[in-house]
Symmetry: C2
Subunit: 146 residues, 2 copies
C-alpha cells in the first residue's frame, strides 16, 4: 500500500528540496520548484524584489553564477498550512566560501510561500532577511519602532 505523507511533511520536503537546489546551484531543479500557475516573487537579502517567474529565475541564475560552496543549516522550521497555500518560517544558517578560501557564516530569517499546483506544492514567494534578532535581547524588541 502506498504511503501518503502528511501535508506538513510534503511541504517540509519541498522546502528542503529548495535549499538543496540552492546548495548545488541547480538552476533546473530550482526552475521546477517554482509555481507556473500563479505570479511569483522573491526577496533576496539586500536586493530589490524580483517579480515574475522570469525575473525570479534570473535572480537564481545570478546567485548560482557567483555562489561558492554554500551550505545551509535550517533551524526552527515551522510550517503553516492555509488550504491551497502554505508557508514555512525558518532560520537559515548559511555558510559560504569566500574567494580567498575563508568560510563565512551568516544567519538569515526566511519566509517561503508555497501554493498547491496540480497536487504538488510549488514555491510562490521567498523572502530572506538578516536575522538581526540573534543579536537583540528579547526584552528590547521595540528598538526599531521608537
Amino acid at each position: 500500500m502506498e504511503r501518503i505523507l502528511p501535508e506538513d511533511d510534503m511541504i517540509r520536503a519541498v522546502n528542503v528540496a529548495f535549499y538543496r537546489a540552492f546548495e548545488r546551484g541547480d538552476w533546473e531543479a530550482m526552475r521546477e520548484l517554482w509555481a507556473v500557475s500563479v505570479p511569483v516573487s522573491c526577496v533576496h537579502p539586500g536586493w530589490q524584489p524580483a517579480v515574475g517567474r522570469e525575473a525570479v529565475l534570473a535572480s537564481w541564475g545570478a546567485i548560482f553564477e557567483g555562489a561558492m560552496g554554500i551550505r545551509f543549516t535550517l533551524r526552527n522550521v515551522q510550517v503553516f498550512v492555509a488550504g491551497e497555500a502554505a508557508w514555512v518560517l525558518q532560520q537559515e544558517e548559511l555558510e559560504s566560501v569566500q574567494e580567498g578560501g575563508e568560510r563565512v557564516k551568516v544567519v538569515l530569517l526566511a519566509t517561503n510561500l508555497f501554493v498547491r499546483e496540480s497536487g504538488a506544492w510549488k514555491m510562490a514567494h521567498h523572502h530572506a532577511s538578516p536575522a538581526l534578532g540573534a543579536a537583540l535581547p528579547p526584552s528590547d524588541p521595540r528598538r526599531l519602532f521608537h
Copy 2:
C-alpha cells in the same frame, strides 16, 4: 447597483488598513485584521518570529506601547493573488519620533500574506526586514552569497 471592487483593490484596501492600524496603534483594529481560521505568524525586523494568533497580537501590543508618531509611506506596492491566498510586497518608509523629538526614517521591505476568510481578506503573515537594497548598487547583488 452595488459596486464590487476588483480583487486586487480589495487586497490593497486591507493592506492599507493594516498600516493605518499600525500608525494609530489601534490594537482592536489590528486584531480584526488578522485571520482566525488559519495559523498566523509575524516577523518584525530584529525580532524572533511571533507564531500563533496570541503571540502575534501580543507583539503588536508591545510595539504600540512603545511606538510614537509612526507614519508610513508605501512604495512599489505589488499585489499577488493565488486563489484564496494573496500577498503584497512593498517598501515601507517608516518615519517615527524619538524620545527627544527627533524624527527618524527607516526603509523596510515587507511581505504581507493574506487569506480569504468568509469572503474577507485577512492577514496570515507579515515579514518586514531592512531594505538593504536601497544602499547596494543593482549591479552587485551577490554580495551576501560569495
